[in-house]
C-alpha cells in the first residue's frame, strides 16, 4: 500500500538531515502509528510521502505508483489530513468538499451519497452550507477528514489528527479509522498519544533525529503493547527512571492530590457554613 525506501531529506540552507535513510512498508487493512518527539522527522516524512516536500534520495510508492515518477496516480490513491486543519475558509463546507471531489473525479451520485453520509456521521448537516471561516477547530478538522475521504482513498494519511479535538470528535475519528481499515484500506498517522496508539494501531514505528529506530507489531503482541511507553522513552533518549516511573504511574493510577478537609460537604448537604 505504501512503500518507503531509504528516504532522505535535507532542508535547503540546513546542515541537519531531517530524515535519514527511513524505510518501511504498510500492509492493506492496517492502522500504522508513527511516533517521535517534536522535530524527530515525523511531519517531514509525511510531507515527503504526500508530495508536499521534495526529497533528496530514496523512493516512495503508493499503491505501486512512484510519487516522483507518477505523482497523479499516486496521489489519486491517497487522502491527507494536515495537522493544522488548513482549508479554503472562504468556501462553504459543501463547496470545499465538492471542490476536492472534483479534483479526484468523484461522480455526482457517489459524492452525494458520501457527503450525506459523512455529514450525518460527523454531525455537520447544519454547517455544510456555511462558510468554513465560521467553523470551530473540531468542525474544520471534520471537514478536512470529509474531504480526504470523499474519494475513499486506499491510503489515508493523518498528521497528528487528534490534536486539540474534543472527546466526541476524537471518538468519531477513531471509529472512522477502524471502519476505513475494515474495508481493506490503510491508515497511517502520526501522534504523541501513546495510549491511543497502543489501543488502535496494528504496528508502530518510532523515529528519532530523522532515523527510524524501531518498528514493531502491537496487534497480538502484548509484550510490545505493555512496553510501548518504555521503548518510546528509551529510543527518544528521554528515559530517566524516575521520570518514566512518574509517567507510568500517571497512566495507571489516580494522581489527583487529596482535597484539604473543609466544610464543603456540609454546605453540599444543604447546611449553611458556620458564621464566624
Amino acid at each position: 500500500m505504501l512503500k518507503v525506501e531509504h528516504l532522505k531529506k535535507i532542508y535547503p540552507k540546513s546542515d541537519r538531515v531531517a530524515v535519514d535513510d527511513i524505510s518501511f512498508e504498510l500492509r492493506p487493512g492496517e492502522i500504522f502509528g508513527f511516533l517521535g518527539q517534536n522535530g524527530a522527522g515525523k511531519s517531514t516524512t509525511i510531507k515527503c510521502l504526500t508530495g508536499i516536500l521534495p526529497f533528496d534520495s530514496g523512493t516512495i510508492e503508493i499503491c505501486g505508483y512512484d510519487i516522483v515518477k507518477e505523482p497523479i496516480k499516486a496521489k489519486m490513491n491517497m487522502g491527507y489530513v494536515p495537522d493544522n486543519h488548513s482549508v479554503y475558509e472562504k468556501l462553504t463546507g459543501r463547496e470545499y468538499v465538492n471542490f476536492v471531489a472534483d479534483l479526484y473525479k468523484v461522480p455526482t451520485e457517489l459524492r452525494r451519497k458520501r457527503i450525506k453520509e459523512f455529514a450525518e456521521k460527523f454531525k455537520l448537516e447544519a454547517a455544510m452550507d456555511r462558510q468554513i471561516a465560521g467553523y470551530s477547530h473540531g468542525m474544520k478538522q471534520k471537514i478536512c477528514i470529509m474531504a480526504a475521504l470523499i474519494h475513499e482513498p486506499k491510503l489515508w494519511v493523518l498528521d497528528e489528527p487528534m490534536m486539540g479535538l474534543d472527546p466526541q470528535s476524537t471518538a468519531e475519528i477513531i471509529a472512522h479509522m477502524r471502519e476505513h481499515c475494515a474495508k481493506g484500506n490503510t491508515v497511517f498517522f502520526s501522534s504523541h498519544n501513546l495510549d491511543l496508539v497502543k489501543k488502535l494501531c496494528h504496528r508502530v514505528a518510532i523515529v528519532n533525529n530523522g532515523h527510524l529506530v524501531d518498528l514493531f507489531d502491537l496487534a497480538g503482541n502484548e509484550a510490545n503493547k505493555a512496553n510501548l511507553e518504555e521503548k518510546f522513552f528509551r529510543i527518544t533518549g528521554t528515559y530517566e527512571r524516575r521520570l518514566f516511573e512518574d509517567y507510568a504511574a500517571q497512566e495507571s493510577e489516580d494522581m489527583r492530590p487529596d482535597l484539604p478537609a473543609h466544610d464543603d460537604d456540609a454546605s453540599l448537604n444543604g447546611d449553611k457554613p458556620a458564621e464566624e
Binding site: Y11, P12, K47, T50, G51, I52, L53, P54, P71, I72, K73, K75, M76, M78, Y80, P82, N84, S86, V87, Y88, E89, K90, L91, T92, R94, E95, N98, F99, V100, A101, D102, L103, Y104, K105, V106, P107, T108, R111, R112, I115, D129, R130, Q131, A133, G134, S136
Partner: protein
Amino acid sequence: MKGEISFARVKTLFRLDLKSRFGTTHKRGVKYRISQGMNALFFLAIYAVLILGMYFLTNIFVERSKMTLEFLTLISLATIVLASAIATGNIVKNLYQNGDNEMLLRFPVSGKEILLAKSIYCLLHNLVVCVLLMLPFYVTFGAVTKAPVGDYFSYIGVIILSSIVTFAIGNILAVPAVKLINIFKNKFVVVLVLTIILVCGIFVAYLLTLSQILTYLRDSKQDIFSPEMVEKYRAFFGGAYPFKWYAELVSGRRLGTLNAGGLALRFLYIFLMTAALSVAAYFITSRAYYRTILYGVASGKSTVSRKAKDKQMSVTRALLTKEFYLILRSFNYSFEYLAMACAAPIMVFFCNRLAATMGTDTVGGAIMPGITIMVIIIFITVTVSFASTCISREGNCFYMTKVMPVSFRSQVLAKFLLYSVVATISVVLTCLVTGIVYTSDAGEKALSAVDMAAIWGISEILVISLTSLSMAVDIKWPTFNVSGDGELVSANKNVAIMLVVGFFFAIAFGAVVMVTNFLPLKIGDWMVSSRGNLGNIYLMLTLVSLLLLAGSLSALFVNLDKRYNKIMW
C-alpha cells in the same frame, strides 16, 4: 459589566493593544530599517505633493477670489467630514470587529475596562489623524495670509476640538455603520459593484479637481470662479453651521467679522455641541459595545451561507471556480483585482483625457497615441500585478496544491487563464471606450483606427506577458505571510517588482510613440516613421512585446513542475 474600573488594568490592556499593533521594540536588521526609511520618504514625498496642492487651492480662494472665511469654512467642513469618516471606520474596526469577546474570556478584565482602553487608543488615533489632516491646511492658510503667531495657537485649539467632535461623531455613526456592514457583509457582488462605483467616483472627482488646478497653473491670470459662482459659494458657506463657527474661531477677529464677545460665543457653541455629542456617544457606545461583546461570546462569527449543488465539474472548472470565489469573497482581493479591472476603462478614459488636454495644449495633438499607450499599459500593470501573489495567496492551504492529484502545470494554467481572461476583458473595454471617443469627432479624431488597433494588439500581448511574468515571479519567491482570515498580510515584494517592470514598459513604449510621432525617423533611405504614420513603430513595439511574451511564457512554463515542486511550505 458592573464593577470598579482598575486603571492599572486599563493601562495594561492599552499597552497590550499597542504592542499587538506596532510589534515589540526588538532590534531590527538593516534591511528593515532601510525599508522603513524608504516608506517614510515615500510618505513625506506624497505629503509634500499634497501641501503643494493645498497651497494652490488656498491661493485660488484667498488671494484670487477673496473668499477667506468661505475657504476656512470649506476646510472645516471637508476635514471634519473626512476625519469623522476615518474615526467611524477606526471605531468599527477596533470596537465592533476586533474579537474583544476573546479578551473578555481570556483575561480577568471587565467589558468597561476593555472599552476604556480601546477608546483611549481610538481617541489618540483620531487626534493624530486630525493633526495630519488639518494642520497642513491651517499652516498653509496661515502662510498664504501671513497670519500672526497667535493665530497658529488657535489652529491647534481648533484641531483638538475637532478631534473630540469627530471622535464623538465616529462613535455615534459606528453603530449604524456596523448594522449596514452586517447587511452587506456577505453580499459580495453588491459590495463589488459599490466599490467599483466608489473607486471610479473618487478617481474621476480627483482628476477633475486636478484638471482645474492644472488649468489654473497654466493660466494664473484666468479667474477660476465666475462672479455668479463666487456668490453661490458665499451664500452656501455663509449658512454652513457649525463649520462656520470653527472658521470664525480661527480668524474671525483678524478678518473683522467678530468682536471678543462674538468669539467667546462661538467657542461656547462649539463647546456645547461637542459636550452634547460626547454624552450621546457615551450612551450609544456603552450600550452597543457591551451588546456586541456579549453577542460575540454567545454566538461567535457570522459568515456567508450558500447552498451549493453536489454535482461533478471538470477539474479545470473546479480550479477556476475556487480561485474566483476566493477572490470575490475577500474584500481586499476583489478590490485589488476585480474592482480595478472593472474600473480601468473609466479610469483610463479620464486619465487619458486629462493627459491629452495638457499634452495637446503644450506640445500638440501628436502626443495622443503615445499618451494612450502609456496610460493603458500603466493600468494593465496595476491590474495584472495581482497575479504576482497567485501562489502566496494560497497561504496555509498551499499544501493542497501539492497534495491534489492535478499536475502543477494544470493548476498554474487555470490561474493563468482566469487572470488573463479578466485582464483581457478589461483591456478590450478600455480600448473600446478610448477608441470610440478619440477616433470620432467628439475626441477631435486624435487617434486613427490603425492607432487603436495597434494599441489594443500591443496591450493584449502585454497582458499575457505581464501575467505570466507576475506568476513566474511568485513561483520563484512566494511569501505565505497570511493573517488569521487566511488573507495576505500585505502586498509582497513581487507586486513591487511587477509594478516597476510594467511601468518601465509603459514609459518606454509611450516615449517611443510620442517621440517618433514628432520627429521623423529615417534609417538610410528607409522612412521608418513620420507624423501620423507610425505603422513601422507599432510593428517594432509588437515585435518587442512578442519577445517579452516568449520570454515570460518560458519563464513561467519551462521546468514549471520542477520549480513548483521546490516551493517550501
